[in-house]
């Protein structure tokens, strides 16, 4: 019998499984950081977290999850505290394997908008801005986005490209000067999406337990492609859930 879990737990567990041992991850605060902490505890003990506040190799204490990437909780038992600019320069140099981040609005090429709804000069809604998201999306070897799956978030074209993924497909990322990197996966509350190798358009790769391809399509504002073989995500195990819940006993990010 599989245990009961909510969508945030499913999101965090699915995201954590994307991280490999012996790698480095630039983790954003919230579910990405929680998922990275889980991966490190469970299957990737030699995973090193890099956090944008200028923090390398923290351990993240259970029950003391940071709410910002620039606070003592994020730096708990860190191995190095470089200046913020230098933390990002590790990624520009090529030291960071995975960028692990959330997203407000995302399009079919994986581009993310966290800047503005409407026009930049006269915005309908001014969002908080890129923070380090643009840099993570530009500079890591590979980027994995972790987000709730809602039709209003998954739009054909973002209002503003804050964080570049495949831009308009067709080699446009490389033409802009970004000769490496790009988004490889989008882990959502409904499934796991990837990108068609040729067109760089988003495609369904895995559906979460109890979710159909149709449900994912209905919650997406553009036409999704499908991988040659669409898998079903393994449900979170008891050990994954136990470890995850211990990290966030206050349910700050797990709902």
């Amino acid at each position: 019998m599989s245990p009961l879990f909510n969508t945030q737990e499913l999101l965090a567990v699915s995201a954590s499984r994307e991280l490999r041992d012996d790698t480095t991850v630039f983790a954003g605060v919230g579910v990405p950081l929680l998922a990275a902490a889980l991966a490190r505890q469970r299957h990737a003990p030699r995973l090193t977290m890099v956090i944008e506040g200028g923090i390398i190799g923290p351990e993240i204490a259970a029950g003391k999850l940071p709410i910002s990437t620039n606070e003592m909780r994020a730096a708990y038992r860190a191995t190095m505290l470089p200046a913020i600019t230098d933390a990002f320069l590790f990624a520009q140099r090529g030291f960071v394997d995975v960028g692990f981040m959330g997203g407000a609005q995302i399009d079919q090429y994986g581009n993310i908008n966290t800047t503005v709804i409407g026009e930049y000069a006269r915005p309908k809604v001014r969002l908080p801005g890129t923070g380090g998201a643009n840099d993570i999306a530009s500079l890591c070897r590979e980027v994995i986005i972790v987000t709730a799956h809602e039709k209003r978030r998954f739009v054909p074209r973002v209002d503003f490209i804050t964080s570049p993924a495949w831009l308009a497909g067709d080699g446009s990322r490389a033409r802009a000067g970004l000769l490496f990197g790009g988004v490889s996966r989008v882990v959502t509350t409904l499934g796991i999406l990837g990108f068609d190798p040729a067109t760089k358009r988003m495609r369904i790769e895995s559906t979460h337990p109890g979710v159909t391809v149709q449900t994912i399509r209905e919650n997406t504002g553009f036409e999704l492609l499908e991988a040659p073989e669409v898998r079903v995500t393994d449900p979170p195990s008891i050990s994954e859930l136990t470890m995850l819940r211990a990290l966030d006993p206050e349910r700050r990010f797990l709902g």
Binding site: V29, G30, E52, G53, G54, I55, A61, K64, I67, S68, N70, E71, M72, R73, A75, Y76, L81, P82, A83, I84, T85, F88, L89, Q92, T115, Y120, R122, P123, K124, V125, R126, L127, P128, G129, T130, G131, G132, N134, D135, S138, L139, F160, I161, T162, S163, P164, L167, S172, R173, A176, G177, L178, L179, R252
Partner: protein, 310 residues
């Protein structure tokens, strides 16, 4: 070149820099470009911010990579025209800033957005005294156009690079762990960008948790990140970032952020105006301001910081 001339024309004295907040912030003028040290709610120079608000500076440009509610105070006080930043808000639990939305969406304040690294490199180019630095960040994004960032062809390979322009703020305001009376500054824990900001700015104002004897600096010169000759004014202000955090010394008081956010939630800009009255205009000194929180709360935050950094 103008930025270099300004610095060349300035006294770079190894003299005593100690003064009080009121005197220090007299060096900030209406219309100045002020770079704020620390980041978000870490090592924010809160005492200097209070001082600038109390002297009612106008028409400022405030630059800070992750901008917290200190910029909202300037918005409501009518002191700021432009915010240069990568991100503005308090943090995830508090959602999108209503005050930022109000002022930026109505066009009362301009928000100029750069990526976090790009803004860091702007300070670093300024600190290095070069007009720009090449980088691979921001390329291909819409931030290029709205920030005015230009590209550059790599003269060796022909590849496209971002040419990140140097930033030379008029004034830097910083809070550090310790300094001697000549302004040699040391920072514990994460350095953020303060060392670059101090080198890039023309005028540098610093508050320090602790003023140490010169001998202490000379015993650990490797820990000094800002040399005294770069500093114009220094003020001794224990808890000078509070309610924001200072690494190892006190944790951020998020319950206070909740209280501030409740004021915004229920009364919008008027809630901020009431906050300004209570925490900025009414208490004449920083010690009076800290009394509003009470010693018990300060001790509690100190204890929490110890637990997180031991």
């Amino acid at each position: 070149m103008a930025a270099r001339r300004r610095l060349e024309g300035k006294a770079k004295s190894a003299s005593e820099k100690l003064t009080d907040v009121e005197d220090a912030v007299r060096r900030v003028h209406d219309g100045d470009h002020v770079a704020v040290g620390g980041i978000l709610f870490s090592r924010t120079p809160m005492a200097l911010i209070r001082g600038m608000l109390r002297q009612r500076r106008r028409g400022l440009t405030l630059t800070r990579n992750l901008t917290c509610y200190e910029a909202e105070l300037f918005m409501v006080a009518g002191g700021v025209e432009r915010i240069v930043t990568a991100w503005m808000g308090i943090g995830l639990p508090w959602g999108v800033s209503k005050i930022m939305r109000h002022y930026v969406e109505s066009g009362k304040v301009v928000m100029e957005e750069w990526s976090h690294l790009a803004l860091g490199l702007r300070f670093r180019a300024g600190a290095m005294g070069v007009p720009f630095l090449p980088s691979l960040t921001m390329l291909g994004s819409d931030l290029m156009a709205v920030s005015g960032m230009k590209t550059l062809e790599d003269p060796y390979t022909g590849a496209t690079l971002a040419a990140v322009p140097a930033l030379f703020p008029d004034v830097a305001i910083l809070h550090v762990h310790r300094a001697d009376r000549f302004g040699n500054c040391q920072i514990d824990g994460y350095p953020h960008m303060d060392a670059d900001i101090a080198r890039a700015a023309t005028t540098v104002l610093v508050t320090a948790e602790e003023i140490v004897p010169e001998e202490e600096t000379r015993r650990h010169p490797d820990r000094t990140v800002i040399p005294g000759f770069a500093v114009d004014a220094l003020v001794h202000v224990p808890f000078g970032s509070f309610p924001h955090e200072c690494y190892r010394l006190y944790e951020a008081d998020v319950e206070h952020f909740d209280e501030y956010a409740r004021g915004v939630e229920t009364r919008g800009p008027e809630g901020v105006a009431a906050y300004l009255e209570r925490y900025v205009y009414a208490p004449p000194t920083f010690a009076d301001y800290l009394d509003l929180f009470g010693g018990e709360r300060l001790a509690r935050q100190r204890q929490r910081a110890r637990e997180l950094t031991r």
